[in-house]
Symmetry: C2
Subunit: 324 residues, 2 copies
DNA sequence: AGTCGTTACGATGCCCGTAAGGATA
DNA sequence: TATCCTTACGGGCATCGTAACGACT
């Protein structure tokens, strides 16, 4: 058994059982991978991948167990490398953040600016995607951190730490009827066509919940994955924008009116997630604390030591989180 | 980084930093190990072992972290092999039990007999040693199970499950004054010379506690690591034997009188311990359940999923354990 | 017909073991 | 002086990449 063989079976799984694609991604030859997998299977005396003819059709039951263990092994080899790098070059390294448009555009810039100032030798990579893609990237080790409001909880291998609460604002053109109302009700809002996020993005589920609870079917005429697109269509008069408050920029959005709507919806919580088994570099702790000041290194370590997400949630349930 | 390199650094640590000894144990050449370690250090850019001249003097701080991770990696490779073996040859395998004389001689035989009947193809290895040696053997992966009353708690990587409670009996020659007493008190016992276990063996600590609490200094004239030796000296009239009740065999020890002493000492609990990270074969679950019927497979799995020993203790604190 | 995994083969390079060297206790 | 790690060197073997083959969609 060799580390490379374990690496191969994991990567083949992540490439939809396509060995040729895997070979490309790993910059090696396809027969090499095939042979190593075959040798591992021979050594263990079983099939990890089931073949139908000359195609890998699916992963066997034992194969899944083995690949699971292989992933843990590989992530620990990464930890060894990280420990070594931390010791030899504490200021150098990589930081890969997978996040949504909302975070990348509105909350992360003011965190990243001081970070690259402080750690010029850390090369920063940002991946943007849907909450599901982001979570998967973190779970598979492609990203160090996933920052999102949704979907993170679907991956059990991730530690999720709450960063801040936020709520929504309504965005309308000047002169819109709602701009005159003192405190908008959910019923009033339900009478206008709405422009908001698509399902599974940026706390969209809380919007649906609020309307469901009020037994109102909202007239959602347009959905987008990011606030900039929503604003564009609000400017076109398509409807009332319902978006995260931090996406409203008073200086730039002078042609639009923001109406507080925090009383209409339950607050959402943005979380940062990472694999439990990873070794966090010092600069990673610094990044987390820069993003969410209450997540000091010791608090994060405390949370990482916990196995169950419920324990982690309990740890932070007493704390006052920032609200944006 | 290769698995073999990780194996080498772990083994060198377990051999007191003596590379030559390590090479013998691993049936390979000494320069081979030296070179691989050196190559790993070069790859990581740091020293795992500090050298003074041409001797390995100690493990560096980073080295300890890395070796710790290496051990976890290696134990997971063992898990992969175990998963494979379980799938291909469910009835075959090894079972190595490290235990004390007391368990090996008096409690294990009636468990092992049916076990080898049930699993004739599992080759069984028993290692006998002091509680500390036993625990270390399990912690290092040399033994699958450690069964003992003492010292197990010193190793944090071990999961410990309580098997049964037991207490002590006094053993005297017929006609001894204590044989006439109705219910022996600790004061009465303190007046006679005692023969019992040495420190750190078979619940010896509870004996000391009882005398300490009574503010009595017992006259311990002879200590041994096993009950057979204790009995021998009781037969010679050296003193009153204080030993685990299960070590008194009515059929064989007809020339001695056993006096219940459970009311004098706090009960001890014999535990079975194994590394949290190991994959347990089906026959291993069967062995555990054979030894302690309340430790069903599901209960064991439940306990293994817990990270903290306190949680495990809590799990079993509600249960009625067998008493020998 | 195209995609894909397996087999075959030759060359590179790694790893092991023996032998000799130098440092320490 | 004995033990012990390091360096040097040669043989063997595993691995990799190219090329050809066979099978499934």
């Amino acid at each position: 058994m060799k580390l490379q063989q374990l690496h191969y079976i994991v990567e083949v799984l992540h490439n939809n059982l396509n060995v040729s694609k895997t070979a490309e991604h790993l910059y090696t030859s396809q027969p090499g991978i095939s042979k190593q997998i075959r040798m591992l299977e021979d050594e263990l005396g079983l099939e990890i991948f089931a073949r139908s003819g000359k195609h890998l059709s699916h992963v066997t039951a034992v194969g899944e167990q083995i690949i699971g263990l292989a992933q843990e092994i590989l992530s620990k080899t990464q930890a060894i490398k990280a420990v070594a790098a931390e010791h030899t070059h504490p200021q150098q390294g990589n930081l890969t953040i997978a996040t949504t448009h909302t975070q990348a555009r509105y909350t992360l810039p003011k965190v990243i600016a001081p970070f690259i100032q402080r750690y010029p030798e850390v090369s920063l990579h940002m991946h943007q995607g849907s909450p599901t893609q982001i979570s998967e990237a973190a779970a598979q080790g492609q990203a160090d951190f996933a920052i999102a409001t949704e979907a993170l909880h679907l991956y059990q291998s991730l530690v999720m730490l709450p960063c801040y609460h936020w709520n929504r604002s309504l965005l309308v053109q000047p002169g819109h009827p709602l701009a005159q109302v003192n405190k908008v009700t959910i019923e009033e809002l339900g009478q206008f066509p709405l422009v908001t996020y698509v399902h599974g993005f940026t706390g969209r589920s809380e919007l649906d919940n609020a309307f469901n609870n009020a037994k109102i079917t909202p007239k959602i005429v347009f959905t987008a994955t990011d606030a900039d697109v929503i604003k564009t269509y609000v400017r076109m008069g398509l409807g009332v924008g319902v978006l995260a408050s931090m996406a409203y920029e008073p200086e730039k959005d002078t042609d639009l009116v923001a109406i507080p709507a925090g009383h209409l919806f339950a607050a959402s919580t943005t979380k940062i997630g990472f694999r439990r088994s990873t070794f966090l570099r010092a600069y990673m702790y610094d990044f987390i604390e820069g993003f969410a000041p209450h997540l000091s290194r010791s608090k994060v370590e405390q949370a990482m030591a916990m196995q169950r997400q419920e324990d982690i949630d309990a740890l932070f349930s007493h704390m006052q989180l920032p609200t944006l």
